[in-house]
Amino acid sequence: MAVPPTVFVIDDDPSALSSVCALLTAFGMTVKPFDSAEDFLADYNELQPGCLLLDVQLQGIGGLDLLRQLRRNQLDLSVIVISGNADKQVVRTATELGVTEVLHKPVQPHDLVDVVQRALG
């Protein structure tokens, strides 16, 4: 049996993080929460299949910075970005960096589930 794909969730708001995890878990997905980009980079294993659910407004290394870093490292991880404010600049940068999807808060939970399931393929 193949290793189930994992959804990596990074959000510095604990309630947002735990609610997203609760939602995805309820839909039978494997979820791994991180409250900062640094934690994620420290833990991330390239061989692990999955996708990354990223809140762009993060303390420390921002979400877009993390994206750039991932792209520099040639990591092929599908990334879904959630932005708190619909800043067009952010959307554009994110799209340029090749994210799978950009979602805007508040996100319909079912949309979120759909997007993640699609990203996981």
């Binding site: 309630s15 947002a16 735990s18 609610s19 939602l23 878990t25 407004q57 808060k105 939970p109």
Partner: protein
């Protein structure tokens, strides 16, 4: 004291005090002489008397003896008993004074004799010398006796010899007896010894008397000496001393006799004179020292007394003035005859004191007040006039000045009175029984009653509605004597609706000379208008603060929206999870759903809290003062601003003083200040890339005040800018209004606090410190 008025002591003529005829010697001496004379005289007169009486007595005795003997001789002769006769005569010889006794016959021959040898001899031969030649015994004398046959007894003439011749009848004839029958019996007796004896006794008695008298005289002399002369001498000495002016001596003589009485009255006299002299001296001194010029004249107007004040006043010396007519003191046009003036009946005199100009020696005039009075002798007869004058030039000036200043004072007083009455400040005076003694128009107006309705009435009756709150103030002032200043008194609307009135009242104790409080002076100022204006201002400020808060909120609205979005996003996720779980119903789904529902509730509360916080911050509440725990307010505010912190990439660290005292104030407004300061701090650090964007919020107790400091690690403020920051509309920010600090300053000031800006060197950041007085009583 060169005044004429000083009594000069009359010159004492030197009294010769030697006593030429001391009584104490003269008196006894004269007594002795008197006694001596008396004794001599009585001795002399007694002696002749004694001689006479002795002689008389001796004659009688001799006569009697001889007649007896003659009888017996006659009988013996008749019987011719010669021997018997002889014997009878011989018996006479026993008396030594009897010099001889013979019986002779008619031929004068001795028949019988006392001495036997004589018998037979002639009578003349038998008479012994010196009696033999005496004529008494001559023959003639004998013959006369014979003839007369009458016996004779005679004194001899020498004073002490008596001769008795007695006829004797010789009856019987003897051989020897001659026939002549008549014989003579002759006896001679010398009574000198008897006389001697008698005189001796008398002289002895006289001498005794003399000696006694002398002793008495000496005693008398001594008595005189000690009891009278000595004391008189002392008196004499004393009078001399008194005469010399020594009035302190006293006789020192005691006793109940006349001298002592004299001494006592002398002492009394000296004491009286001493007192009189002292009085006189005192009077003289007074006269010399009185400020008034005292001049006395006789009835003719000639000066008799002139004291030194008179010399000072008029310039004439005593010598120049005495004896002259007092007219020299007048100018020719205003001569006043003292005598006429003083004799005027009292009713006709204009006043007791004449005020007039008198002339000085240097011809200048001096304005004096002259009082004349008549000097009377003891019997009421006028003897002179006394005039007292004093210089009233100065007095007149002073009087003029006084009346002027009095006028001034009166004017001032009426000004003050007017001021008191009309001043727009309420004034009243309350006695210690809290009755109105005085009140001005303004206070009467404030109290809403006419002035008359106050006077004399007690406070409680006049102001029953506020008596309870102000009576204790009055009582305290009366008891302690300490003023109470600026006490705020609120008076509820009299008719129950409308607005309360506010007064600022001060109570000052009024004390008498002994420091006892005798009343309270009250100053009342109606500050209702001011209070209302203040209230309006405060309302405006509150409004402004509110607007500012709204604007702040407006700036933060995006952040707040995000903040609220978070829980809502979480809730949506949780809810979807729940829905999916409950639809799939996999084993254990219920527990999962329950836990997720718990999360939902939690997030809903979180969202509610954010909204509550925001609503609290922007609420337009009336400013409401209550005790505030600044620490709690700081925590609350940092929560409100947590999103801003996150948005601007800043961290907040708290350092709170757990013992921070509470302060009194409007919590929302103070929070507004904190928000402004913290946001400024965030904004100052925005864009810094060194990653150390920290705001340090510290609370502390400073000198009893509660303080909060907000310190950032931004660029700081250059010191020349510090003063400008609090100006309204000063901003360096693109979207800033420049109202944050201005409003904060107003709010802090309204809370009697301070806002202080500290900024050290560049890079060290800025520190904003607010400070409020601590609230000590917990309400």
């Amino acid at each position: 004291m060169n005044d004429r008025s000083t009594p000069t002591r009359p010159l004492q003529s030197q009294v010769d005090s030697t006593i030429q005829y001391p009584l104490r010697i003269l008196l006894p001496l004269s007594l002795m002489v008197m006694v001596l004379a008396h004794t001599g005289w009585s001795l002399f007169s007694n002696r002749s008397q004694i001689v006479n009486s002795t002689n008389r007595e001796a004659v009688i005795v001799l006569r009697r003896t001889m007649s007896q003997l003659a009888g017996s001789l006659e009988r013996a002769a008749r019987r011719n008993e010669l021997s018997t006769m002889q014997y009878s005569l011989a018996s006479l010889g026993a008396d030594p004074e009897v010099k001889f006794a013979v019986l002779i016959d008619e031929e004068n021959d001795v028949i019988v004799s006392m001495r036997r040898a004589d018998v037979g001899h002639r009578f003349a031969e038998s008479v012994s010398q010196p009696y033999r030649e005496s004529p008494i015994l001559d023959a003639g004398a004998l013959a006369r006796v014979r003839m007369s046959q009458i016996s004779s007894t005679l004194p001899f003439g020498d004073g002490h010899t008596i001769v008795g011749i007695h006829p004797v009848v010789l009856g019987a004839k003897t051989d020897r007896i001659r026939p002549d029958h008549l014989g003579l019996f002759v006896v001679l007796r010398d009574i000198r010894p008897t006389i001697q004896r008698a005189t001796t006794a008398v002289s002895r008695q006289a001498v005794g008397t003399l000696v006694m008298s002398c002793l008495i005289a000496i005693g008398l002399g001594l008595f005189f000496h000690f009891r009278i002369a000595k004391r008189l001498e002392r008196l004499e000495e004393m009078t001399r001393m008194v005469g010399a002016g020594n009035l302190t001596v006293r006789t020192g003589i005691s006793g109940g006799d006349e001298v002592a009485a004299l001494a006592r009255s002398l002492d009394r006299m000296v004491v009286d004179r001493d007192i009189a002299e002292q009085t006189l001296g005192l009077q003289a001194m007074i006269l010399a020292h009185v400020h008034d010029a005292v001049i006395s004249t006789d009835l003719n107007g000639n000066v008799e007394t002139w004291n030194s004040a008179a010399t000072r006043l008029f310039g004439y010396s005593v010598e120049e003035a005495i004896g002259r007519s007092v007219d020299f003191l007048y100018f020719p046009d205003n001569v006043v005859a003292w005598k006429e003036q003083v004799m005027l009946p009292r009713a006709e005199r204009s006043a007791d004191d004449l005020q007039m100009r008198l002339r000085r020696k240097d011809a200048s005039a001096v304005l004096v007040s002259l009082r004349l009075s008549l000097m009377n002798a003891d019997d009421g007869r006028p003897i002179g006039i006394i005039g007292c004058c004093n210089d009233i030039t100065e007095q007149k000036e002073i009087e003029a000045k006084l009346s002027e200043s009095e006028k001034l004072v009166r004017e001032k007083l009426s000004e003050l009175e007017h001021l008191y009455r009309t001043t727009p400040i309420g004034l009243c005076m309350m006695d210690t029984e809290l009755r109105y003694r005085r009140i001005n128009d303004e206070l009467a107006r404030i109290n809403g009653l006419p002035v008359e309705a106050h006077l004399g009435r007690p406070l409680r009756e006049v102001l029953p509605d506020i008596a309870d709150s102000i009576e204790p103030l009055y009582r305290e002032v009366i008891e302690t004597g300490q003023a109470k200043r600026s006490i705020e008194v609120e008076r509820p609307p009299v008719d129950g609706h409308g607005q309360s009135s506010f007064f600022l009242a001060s109570y000052h104790p009024l004390k008498d000379d002994t420091g006892r409080v005798r009343g309270v002076s009250t100053v009342v100022k109606d500050v209702s208008e001011r209070r209302r204006a203040e209230e309006r201002l405060r309302n405006n400020e509150t409004q402004l603060a509110h607007v500012s808060r709204l604007s702040t909120m407006g700036e933060m609205v995006a952040g707040i929206a995000h903040e609220i979005n978070q829980p809502l996003y979480a809730i949506a996720n949780y809810a979807a999870a729940c829905e999916h779980l409950s639809r799939r119903r996999e084993p254990g789904w219920e527990e999962k759903v329950q836990s997720v529902m718990g999360q939902i509730a939690e997030q809903a509360v979180r969202a509610g809290e954010i909204i509550k916080r925001v609503r609290g911050f922007v609420a337009n509440t009336e400013s409401d003062y209550c005790p505030i725990d600044l620490n709690e307010l700081i925590r609350d505010t940092t929560k409100l601003l947590s999103f801003e912190a996150k948005r601007l990439g800043a961290t907040v660290s708290l350092e709170l003083d757990a013992a921070l005292p509470p302060v009194m104030g409007d919590a929302i407004q103070i929070q507004q200040v904190l928000v402004n300061l913290i946001r400024n701090a965030f904004e100052a650090m925005d864009g810094q890339v060194n990653g150390k964007n920290n705001v340090q919020i510290r609370s502390a107790t400073l000198d009893g005040d509660a303080s909060v400091s907000v310190k950032d690690s931004g660029p700081g403020i250059s010191s020349d800018m510090v003063d400008q920051l609090k100006e309204p509309f000063y901003t360096t920010k693109e979207h800033g209004l420049g109202m944050g600090l201005a409003i904060s300053q107003t709010i802090v000031a309204a809370h009697e606090g301070h806002l202080e800006i500290r900024s050290d060197a560049d890079g060290a950041g800025a520190e904003f410190c607010i400070r409020f007085p601590a609230l000590h009583e917990i309400c």
